[in-house]
Amino acid sequence: MAVLAQQIVNGLVLGALIGLIALGYTMVYGIIQLINFAHGEVFMVGAFGAHFLARYVLPEDVRWYVALPAMCLAAVAVSIGVAVAMERLAYRPLIGAHRLAPLITALGVSILLQEVVRVFYPGATAPLAFPRMFVEGHLAIGPVTILWTGVLALAVAPLLAAALHIYVERSRLGRAMRATAQDPDTARLMGISPNRVTLATFVIGAGLAGVGAVLYGIHYTQIDTAIGFQNGIFAFTAAVLGGIGSIRGAMLGAFCIGLVKSLAGQYVWGGVQYDYVWVFVLLILVLMFRPQGFLGRPEGMRA
């Protein structure tokens, strides 16, 4: 029982972190029907941005309540910067091109970013230790323990997802996003600029990925240039599982994936070496019976 409860908690924490990435996939897809495979790398560069600040800028004895917000800001800034450059330089010139062109471009951008960080970031050819923050402490509920970093992830991710949901439902930009997702031509005739909506979508997705990157770093205490690819694949799967284009679906899908990976690693033959497999088995099963995902609807982003 204790092991089961512990694995459920571990799975939920992983799900929360994946969810913050999945929101970016689902939103961009909702607006421009592009699977932005480089979104995982937006998350990865955020982690390195925070690492850079902590390792090279902040003093050694800085307190966590200063360091953590500062690292979040750095990660969000780097993630947004990269996402904006990517949208401007790689995707916008391809508006109107064949659907495959931006998809292949996304894969190219993904590889490019991984290699650039690996080659130019000091020591990034090997995994880097992420600053440890209040990791010694943990919350104990009966036999189950949760690191404070995990508690933080479990609190922050759903909170940000809910804020995003409210924002999309009840703001000028949110309405513009939904209108553009449903009918970009008519939205344009209403005075909505598709370029600005697209850019804003990339910015919001990148901001969430940046926060996710810091939470990921302090929880697993180690980053490398491949974390974007690995978690990006899970996040993309979560977005598809939940119904791509749906904000709530992305979070739901992410928690499912976290749980399946964690529980399969514990209980299913093959253990943690095969836990990836069961995530994709789940995806295939769901898509067989419900191709639009849990909460997916045909008309695009409806949170």
């Binding site: 009840r170 000028r172 005739l189 209403m190 005075g191």
Partner: protein, 254 residues
């Protein structure tokens, strides 16, 4: 405000869709635009709403040139509805109207994310205005319904409410009664008159000449890309050129 087309011509390849067309739409008036199929009505409409840039000639709003960009035309005060309804089907009626108000809402991204008082005030004001427009077109209780589940006639009204929410000086209606029965058409007539009484210039394209002659203050007749005649309905409907070119003898005798 006055919207004018000054000697507008429009050619598509070798095809002349509009040939030296001049028209003026003053505020406080309902202006009708009629003509047989293929006369160039919709082309002229698209020029007046900034969708097309005329090959020659100018579109002026209160003497200033109107940009050939629908978003800017909208900001300038020219709103429209569509011949084929173009609502956002999955969004609520209220949200559709709020999208129509998009260009009039000022909200910073940061203020919105922080849900500050300025943001809440701007949302509340926009929502109140949108509800008032729904009320105005007779859809007060339907605000929460997805646009796609409204009845056909109500969808046309919703498009009008959405257009009105953008504070237009000129409202362009492209066949507002297409596919409607007699009662619904009479309701739309009353609605259009009420819009004019708000001081908004209304332009209506229609095939239904009876509807146009009973509703409009001034009627333009477009035939094969040329402006054949214009004037008050009483004059236009008895003009022999109009009867010959467009109405036909039987229609006139009614």
């Amino acid at each position: 405000m006055t919207l004018t087309a000054e000697r507008v011509s429009m050619t598509f390849g070798g095809l002349v869709a509009l040939d030296d067309v001049t028209l003026a739409v003053p505020g406080n008036r309902i202006t009708g635009l009629i003509g047989p199929n293929g006369a160039g009505k919709t082309t002229l409409f698209n020029c007046l709403t900034g969708l097309y840039a005329p090959t020659s000639g100018r579109i002026l709003l209160d003497g200033r040139p109107l940009a050939a960009d629908p978003a800017q035309a909208m900001r300038g005060g020219v709103a429209r509805t569509f011949q084929n309804i173009r609502l956002f089907p999955g969004m609520s009626a209220l949200d559709n109207v709020l999208v129509g108000r998009h260009t009039r809402i000022k909200q910073g991204l940061l203020a919105a994310l922080l849900h500050g008082p300025g943001f809440r005030k701007s949302e509340a004001a926009a929502t109140e205005r949108a509800r008032a427009e729904l009320e105005f077109v007779g859809l007060g209780p339907e605000g929460h319904m997805p646009a796609r589940s409204l009845a056909y006639g109500d969808q046309r009204r919703l498009e009008i409410a959405r257009a009105l929410a953008g504070d237009p000086a000129v409202l362009m209606l492209d066949e507002p009664t297409a596919g409607m029965n007699g009662t619904e058409t009479a309701d739309i007539s009353a609605l259009i008159t009420a819009i004019r009484d708000r001081g908004i210039a209304v332009v209506v394209i229609e095939h239904d000449t009876k509807f146009i002659f009973s509703l409009c203050d001034h009627v333009y007749v477009l035939v094969r890309g040329r402006m054949l005649v214009d004037g008050p309905p009483a004059t236009v409907r008895t003009d022999p050129r109009v009867i010959e070119a467009y109405l036909g003898a039987t229609e006139c005798s009614k």
